[in-house]
Structures are given as structure tokens and as C-alpha cells.
Symmetry: C2
Subunit: 315 residues, 2 copies
């Protein structure tokens, strides 16, 4: 299980390799939101998402001869670049409906890409088989202690940057798929900023974590595809992430595709950053939520096709 | 005249108020460029451009009762926010063909906006009259020692961040209108990173500085409007900026509108930042230039209408 000591060790491994992404804000965005909103711009992380943190930490800690990963794309790029920088082989298993930019970028980063059908094939089975056949170490997208610890370094930065901005009490909205980023940030804030409480954010129809928190036990999504928020569509939270989320997180926030696209367009206008729909659900929730006080929204990734950005800006 | 001591003093005034913007890069962008390209993301500065630096420094140094400024929009926003944070009045004179987002944002930041016709009216005359009538201090967009010193703080950061990235020799491409940012960065690098040489970058048809450098004396643009790079369309460099540019800068780079739009789209894809056309000319030049070695491109601003981003992404 990931604990705070592992997050601190991860921060040491990431120093000089991952970016310390900025915590952005805009008076014009605050006016739209009707509250102070601080945005942790993880879309500016290497490979365009927070996933580089967990991948780099896991590969640095485990020192494998070669790695294999499955991912809708952001974890894929994080693993591919980390492997290339370490000089080891990377095989990435990706759903065939992932955005072209994610498939192309993963290949361009030197990885071998294996595509599978999200509806009819079991990525875990494919991953296990290839790992065994080729002697590769599986780097899981979220349910792996060193991956969660790596994502937790984002929470360490939030704690410091929020304090610098004078924010020590408030809500932290985090896009949530399998829960690696959500649980990692929650663990970091528990230790470093106990006045900041994490709320997982999900797209409509894929709100398993919000329902799990409400029900008090792990729930599963009915569908496995069909959202524009591809980065955070997963069947359910992980065996390692769910207990942390249940213990530390506040109520889940659920966001429509339209609200995610609107948040993406407002981030373009006021923060000058590019967020993908799945990375925009936390900002969307921050713009719509009730209650007082500042909100910190994590913009977890920015890997989207140009057509999706055009759709958001034309809406 | 601005000197390095004034830039250091400006850095002290800006600490805790301006953002230290990141120096971004991407292996995929390097592949497109065929060289290492580092991008100083000043579009992530407060108000979406570097102009906040000079405005904040000038207002902090001069302590005026109220300010007036003229600008195509980015300087306007920098002055408006600085004045609001200082609790003083701001009147902004803007060309009537400035992008709507710049006019609206300047008003939203609390400033009074006065529009003028770029072809038929003299903004200097209007500024002088209003200054006298209402007792306001004119904050010039570039030809003012404290403004140049403020923009020079961007050069201090480039010197430090480039050294951290292992780059101490190479070209620094800077979008150039009146030359405030160009001369400020050049002065900072002269003192802190003498192996880095600034090259001003301009749009086709508005290449007065490139022609001035080639001719060895100050040249003027024939047209005063008609470029999508509105942020850097000025009649000529300033009396204070030109001597610095002549003494310190390498040859000017001239960029087509199409190349600027392509650079803007590639920054969207690979760096996840939003740049306006005038802010993208340095990156465009970095993608097209000859010769060896790394290039640092300053992305000076990101205030563009949604329609312009759609145009760039649809191209």
C-alpha cells in the first residue's frame, strides 16, 4: 500500500525529471465561477498529463529490463517517454478507439503499440500474456503502489502552491478514472494540507466512484466506452485506490460532456492552457458547484485531437 | 535608459506578483523542428502576456495616482490588472479593430476603455490630451525605461531556466513590435547569459526591425494594420529600444501568417499552451530556421479570439 513516505521518495526520484506544473488562476475565470478557482495545470507536465509522474517513479523504483502498459493513452505516453529516457523497451496496449493523437504520440515516443477492442477483449489478459512471453514488467495505470506514489507528488505541489496562494482550507477537485491521481493527491494532502479535501470528478454515465462513495462500497460502470472523456473511463476504481478514496475523499462530482467542453473552452480563454475533456471535468465541477470557499481544480491532461478543441470552441 | 541594475530592481518588485513562467519543451515538437526547441510560455503570465511585467514594474516604481495607456490589447490588460491590484484608476486607449476578447477583458479588469481608429487617428495625441485633462500618468507600451526593465525580467528567467536545461549557447527568438520585450531580454542576457543571442521576430509586411538591423538605421512600416499578428504591429521600434536592439541583437526573422498559425497549432498539440498569432512568430521562426544548435522561442502572449484558434486548428 502506498503511504506518505513513498510519496516523498517519489518526489526525490522525480526532481529534475518531472515538471513542477504551475497553479494558475485568472480574475476573469473567478468572475465566471463566482468564486476563487486555482487550476493545477498538469496538462503542462511532460507528455501532456500527470501520468509521467507515476510511470517515471515506478520505472525508477523497479528498474525493469523492459515494460508493458495498457492505457487509453496518457499512461501510455508517460510510460513510453519514461522508458525511452531510461533506455529500455516499452510495449503499450491501447484501445482501438483512443484518439489518434495518443496512438501516434505513443509510437513517436519509441514504444511498440498493440491495439485491442475495448468492448470485446480483456486488456488485463492481453497484458499478462505479453508480459510472460517477453519478460516485460507490467506498469499498471493506477492499481500499483509506486504509480500511486508518483501521482501523489502532484498533491505535494498542490499543498505548497496553495499555501503560497493563501489557501489552506477548501475543496480539491480531481478527475477520477481508476483513482490513481485521486488517491495519491488525497494521501499527500492528508499529510501536508489537512484542510484541503479531495472530491473525485467523473463524467455522466461513468460515475462509479461517486456512486461508490454514496453507497459505501465499490460500484462498477455499466458501459466501458461512449464518453468524450476517454482518459477517465475505467470499469471501476482499483483495489489499492478505492480504500484510500473511501477513507479520505468527499462526495464525488458528476459532469456532463457539455460542461466539460465548456470548461475546456474557458481554460483556453482565460488560462491559455489546452485541456482534454477528461482533464476538464474537475474545472467543470468547480464552475458549477455550490457552497463557499475557494476550489482547486486539477487539469489532469491535455492530449486531445484538434477536432475536439474545435468542437469545444465552436459550441 | 534601462540598464541591468534596473532589471534586477524590477525582478524584486515583481517577486510574488508576476508568475515565473515555465520553459517548456516536447520531444515531439523537437522532431518537427529538427532541433531542440525550448519555449518560454509567457502566455501563462498574468493577463495572458508578458506585458504584466512591465506594467507592474512601472506602476510600482512611479507610484502614480492614476494611469493611462494605449495598446493593441496586451499592454492594456497588463496595465489594467496592475492598476486594479494597486487600487488606482486606469484609462486604456485601444484601436477599434483589436480582438473583442482584448477589449472585453480590459473592461472586465476594471479599466475605462477609449477606442480610436488605427488608420486615421494618432494615439499619442489622444493619450497626451487625456493625461493632461485628468492628471493620469502615461504608461507607454515599450518606450519607457521602467517598462523595458520589467520585460527584462523575462530574460533573467530565461537565463536561469536555459542553464538548468543545459543550454548556454544558442539563439533566442523574441516576437518584436515596439521592441520592449526584445530589448529587455537582450539586456538581461547580455549580463547573465552572454552565449544566448536575441533575434527579433516579425510578421511579413511589418518587418521594420529586421530591415532596420539590415540597413543599420531605424526603418518604418508602410502599413499600420492588416496582420493577424495584431499584438506586434507598431509603426517602428522606439527611441529607447532601437539602440539596444541594434547593439545586441542578431538578424531579424520574418514569418508569414500561415507559419504563425501553424506554430500556434503545433503549440496546442505538443505544449498544451494557447498562443496568439503575434505571440507565435518566434516559435514559427524556430521551426523554420537554418543553422545548428538549440533555439529558445518566447511565446509572448495568448490573447486571441476563439475563431482564430479554430482557424489555426482547421488549417
Amino acid at each position: 500500500m502506498t503511504d506518505f513516505t513513498m510519496i516523498e521518495a517519489a518526489a526525490g526520484r522525480l526532481a529534475g525529471h518531472a515538471r513542477r506544473t504551475p497553479l494558475l488562476s485568472s480574475p476573469l475565470l473567478d468572475e465566471v465561477a463566482g468564486r476563487r478557482v486555482l487550476v493545477k495545470a498538469e496538462c503542462l507536465q511532460r507528455t501532456g498529463s500527470f501520468k509521467f509522474r507515476g510511470a517515471w517513479n515506478a520505472i525508477s523504483a523497479l528498474e525493469p529490463a523492459g515494460v508493458i502498459a495498457f492505457s487509453s493513452g496518457n499512461h501510455a505516453q508517460g510510460v513510453a517517454l519514461s522508458a525511452r529516457l531510461k533506455g529500455i523497451a516499452a510495449v503499450i496496449i491501447m484501445p482501438s478507439d483512443a484518439p489518434a493523437i495518443k496512438i501516434n504520440n505513443t509510437r513517436a515516443l519509441g514504444a511498440e503499440v498493440v491495439l485491442y477492442d475495448r468492448e470485446n477483449e480483456d486488456r488485463d489478459e492481453i497484458g499478462a500474456r505479453l508480459s510472460a512471453e517477453r519478460g516485460l514488467t507490467l506498469i499498471k495505470p493506477f492499481d500499483m503502489a509506486e504509480v500511486i506514489a508518483g501521482q501523489g507528488t502532484c498533491g505535494l505541489e498542490i499543498a505548497e502552491q496553495a499555501a503560497e496562494a493563501g489557501v489552506t482550507e477548501g475543496r480539491v477537485f480531481v478527475p477520477c478514472g481508476g483513482g490513481g491521481l485521486t488517491s495519491g493527491i488525497a494521501l499527500a494532502l492528508e499529510a501536508k494540507a489537512p484542510g484541503l479535501r479531495v472530491h473525485p470528478c467523473e463524467p455522466e454515465g461513468f460515475d462509479d466512484v461517486a456512486r461508490s462513495l454514496a453507497a459505501g462500497e465499490l460500484q462498477r460502470n455499466a458501459a466501458l466506452s461512449g464518453s468524450i472523456c476517454d482518459a477517465i473511463v475505467t470499469p471501476q476504481a482499483g483495489e489499492m485506490t478505492w480504500p484510500v478514496i473511501q477513507r479520505l475523499c468527499g462526495a464525488g462530482q458528476v459532469v456532463s460532456d457539455e460542461a466539460a467542453l465548456n470548461a475546456l473552452a474557458l481554460a483556453h480563454d482565460h488560462l491559455k492552457i489546452v485541456i482534454e475533456p477528461g482533464g476538464a471535468v474537475a474545472l467543470a465541477a468547480a464552475l458549477a458547484c455550490e457552497g463557499d470557499g475557494p476550489v482547486i481544480a486539477v487539469a489532469s491532461g491535455g492530449n486531445l485531437d484538434r477536432a475536439m478543441m474545435v468542437r469545444a470552441l465552436d459550441a
